[in-house]
């Protein structure tokens, strides 16, 4: 403050506005899990924020060192619990890579894997879009998205008996076969779902208030995104057309025709929250296309490779595989000593990277924008913390 004399005018530069340290605690309706963000604000303006993770750390990697390979598949479900099929597949692919070229996954199993993964992608994006609308304040689309999600979860319940943690894709193939009835259910769902995405566009994507809340907010420049290891819709929202299903096709993805939606700053700036959101909406349509093609082309045959026995003993070696999960590049680095129990498993989680970029893009935003940004990153704490 300025001098002692009572007649001196206080210099405006001496007045300090108070900074507030706000704790968006582990329990918060909008952090999509147990994420703690320490926010330093000047009123409503965010000066800096620091995410603290680790509240959902359940020692997945340590568990994999003491249970058998088949039992580890169970633990992978719980990583990104919204896209459990993808987690299963990623881990199984890493184990299968250890076998080298001699292991061939049967065709039918490959088709089933693709169907399950893409249906799961739709379910995951539905949840992402619904909860994002809810974070912004539109509560009704959340209920509509969950209505569609229920149908997908019913399909999964038919296929493997579980609605959320499937434990279905196993090393060598899949666990159970799917029959005509299930395929009919899936086709019915495909016919039903297309117009529903139009409904979400009507309610959310074109709503002026929603666009104003998400356009120009949380702009993620391309260089920052790559530097921080962001992948998936977060990277594609910034205009980078990278999708592992096209770049390094795994499984039988090279047989299907689908596009990769990319953000373009259509309503705001390139790489803002609206771009990331629209990438997810369009990805749902593309996944639908893939499922329709897969259901048409699925052959009869085995569902598990006979090379992998009941007791899975991966050969000695190390392998890193990655798949395009709903949130980005999900990688598994697997070290095997030739025993039933793996020596080391490391999971590379896309949400881990996506949330690390939060401080970079939220400086200068408002607290309400911080919510919008976290929602657009679509993180699942299960895989951030493992």
């Amino acid at each position: 403050m300025s001098s002692e004399s009572p007649t001196t005018v206080v210099n405006a530069g001496d007045l300090r506005t108070e900074e507030m340290l706000l704790n968006m605690g582990p329990q918060h309706p909008a952090t999509h899990g147990v994420l703690r963000v320490m926010v330093r604000t000047d009123g409503e303006l965010v000066l800096d924020c620091e995410p603290h993770v680790g509240y959902l750390h359940r020692c997945f990697e340590k568990h994999c060192e003491s249970v058998t390979t088949l039992q580890s598949v169970l633990y992978t479900d719980r990583l990104d619990y919204l896209t459990a099929m993808g987690n299963n597949w990623g881990f199984c692919m890493a184990v299968e890579k250890l076998y080298g070229d001699e292991l061939v996954i049967p065709e039918r199993a490959q088709y089933i894997r693709v169907i399950c993964q893409e249906l799961n992608r739709i379910a995951s994006h539905l949840l992402a879009i619904g909860t994002y609308g809810m974070d912004i304040g539109a509560i009704t689309p959340f209920l509509y998205c969950f209505r569609e999600r229920e149908k997908i979860l019913t399909i999964f319940e038919h296929i493997c008996g579980q609605r959320l943690n499937y434990n279905y894709i196993r090393p060598g193939g899949v666990a159970y076969d799917i029959d005509e009835g299930m395929l009919r259910l899936i086709s019915e769902f495909c016919a039903y779902f297309g117009p529903k995405v139009d409904e979400y566009d009507d309610l959310l994507s074109t709503n002026d208030i929603f666009v104003q809340r998400t356009a120009h907010v949380g702009v993620l420049p391309v260089k920052t995104a790559i530097d921080f290891g962001c992948t998936g819709p977060v990277l594609r929202g910034s205009g980078v057309p990278r999708d592992l299903r096209k770049d390094q096709p795994y499984g039988i993805y090279d047989r299907f025709e689908f596009d990769v939606p990319v953000g373009s700053g259509e309503r705001g700036t390139l790489g803002d929250c609206f771009d990331r959101y629209m990438v997810r909406v369009r990805e749902m349509r593309e996944s639908l296309r893939i499922v329709q093609q897969a259901v048409k082309g699925i052959p009869a045959g085995e569902i598990r490779s006979s090379k992998i026995k009941a007791k899975i003993r991966p050969p000695k070696g190390e392998a890193y595989t990655r798949i395009e999960n709903s949130r980005g590049e999900l990688g598994f680095y697997v070290v095997s000593e030739g025993k039933e129990v793996l020596y080391r498993v490391k999971c590379r989680a896309p949400s881990f990277h996506n949330i690390s970029v939060l401080p970079e893009i939220s400086r200068g935003a408002m607290v309400a924008d911080l919510i919008a940004i976290i929602g657009s990153m679509d993180i699942v704490l299960g895989e951030v913390d493992r």
Partner: protein, 409 residues
């Protein structure tokens, strides 16, 4: 029969000052308390059912037919809850805040009419009284956020302060527009001029009245802190905003205050723009006008129906639209709604002064057939509805361009 005579009839001729004062207050307070509780009951049930049906689900179905008694069960539950005051909270303010918030709305009921004779205080400056007393709620909300000793509640209350105080300007401008057209601030005076057929309603009185109505309605949404203006209680950001730390009966009072405020602003909209207790069918109004009882019964039914219709629209909007951000809300208020409010005020005043509505005057000395105004008003109203819908449809249909663009080759 007014309260004075009622009180004297109960207490006898020439009661003392204090018995008379208490008697008068009780005679006012009791019916309002009953009515406010009833409004709260019905509104909360309506909210839950409307939101449920919009969201493809059923809502309360267990307690009573279609969950009609659910709110009573919830009320009993809230009464029975433990009263928690957070550590470090300012106990006096914490206890006072809900009362302040409720008091503002409660007192407004004194000038809300239910029928030609069913108004507790027919003040000459009823509109002015409402504008003044309604602001008391803002103090309660701010006190609640401050007293909770919780940064998130503070956020909510600061947002509420900004919002409620700012949106009183467009609301006040709408009030003044109506006062200019009516020539009086008295509630009954305003309604009396809307007697007759439906085109006599102030909504169509001159070309800018529909605009003033919409401006008032939006401002009233912001005053009641309803979506899309529910930043102060933004559920997904601030848990519950300024009333996060409130539980049990204290929370029930806030809750009741919100729904009572919704009723007050809707009733005010009906009174100012939609003809008050007149049905808009002149022969029907004339037929019941002779019998005081039937006039009041019909009037009460009409005004309550109109108010609840507007409440329904408020709820409909809440479950459709997302939440608007603080700076966008302030931009909307100061850069859009205040200019519109001033525009409507100026045009309405000029219209009053310059447009001749014929020499015929009705019994009260007001223009009997404001033909020019009604016709232009109705045209503007229809134009706004139709044009607005077409514009909204055009933005939605633009999604076809989303479907094919922006894909990687």
């Amino acid at each position: 029969m007014d309260t004075q005579t009622l009180v004297q009839w109960v207490l006898g001729e020439n009661p003392g000052f204090w018995p008379q004062l208490i008697g008068v207050v009780a005679a006012w307070a009791l019916p309002i308390t009953v009515w406010v509780s009833l409004v709260g009951l019905i509104s909360i049930w309506l909210e839950r059912k409307i939101s449920a049906h919009i969201q493809c689900r059923l809502g309360p179905m267990e307690v009573g037919p279609h969950g009609a008694l659910q709110t009573i069960a919830d009320g009993v539950k809230l009464l029975a809850k433990e009263d928690i005051i957070p550590d470090g909270a300012d106990r006096f303010l914490f206890a006072l805040a809900p009362i302040l918030a409720f008091a503002g709305t409660f007192v407004s009921f004194a000038v809300i009419p239910f029928g030609p004779d069913l108004i507790i205080a027919d003040l000459d400056a009823g509109l002015y009284f409402l504008a003044a007393v309604g602001s008391l709620e803002a103090i309660g909300v701010i006190a609640a956020g401050w007293a909770s000793n919780n940064k998130w509640s503070l956020f909510g209350s600061v947002r509420a302060a900004t919002q409620v105080v700012s949106y009183e300007i467009p609301m006040g401008l709408a009030f003044v527009t109506v006062a200019v057209v009516a020539g009086t601030l008295s509630i009954t005076g305003i309604v009396e001029q809307q007697s007759g057929m439906i085109w006599n309603w102030y909504l169509f009185r001159n070309p800018v009245m529909p605009i003033a109505f919409i401006s008032y309605y939006i401002a009233s949404l912001a005053e009641c802190k309803r979506a899309p203006f529910d930043l102060p209680e933004a559920e997904s950001e601030l848990v519950s905003g300024f009333h996060t730390e409130y539980s049990g009966m204290r929370f029930a009072i806030f809750f009741l205050a919100e729904y009572a405020a919704m009723y007050v602003v809707s009733a005010l909209a009906s009174v100012m723009f939609l003809g008050g207790w007149y049905t808009g069918i002149a022969p029907l109004d004339r037929a019941v006008a002779e019998s005081g009882l039937w006039a009041n019964a019909l009037g009460a039914l009409v005004i309550i129906t109109k108010s609840f219709a507007l409440i329904f629209v408020q709820m409909w909007l809440r479950w459709t639209l997302p939440r608007i951000r603080l700076d966008q809300m302030m931009t909307l208020c100061l850069k859009v709604m205040v200019p519109i409010g001033m525009f409507t005020l100026v045009i309405a005043a000029l219209w009053q002064a310059l447009v001749p509505e014929g020499a015929a005057l009705d019994a009260a000395g007001h223009p009997a057939h404001p033909v020019v105004g009604s016709v232009t008003g109705m045209l503007v109203f229809v134009f706004l509805i139709v044009g607005g819908s077409m514009w909204v449809r055009s933005t939605i249909r633009a999604t076809t361009s989303f479907k094919t663009a922006n894909y990687r080759a």
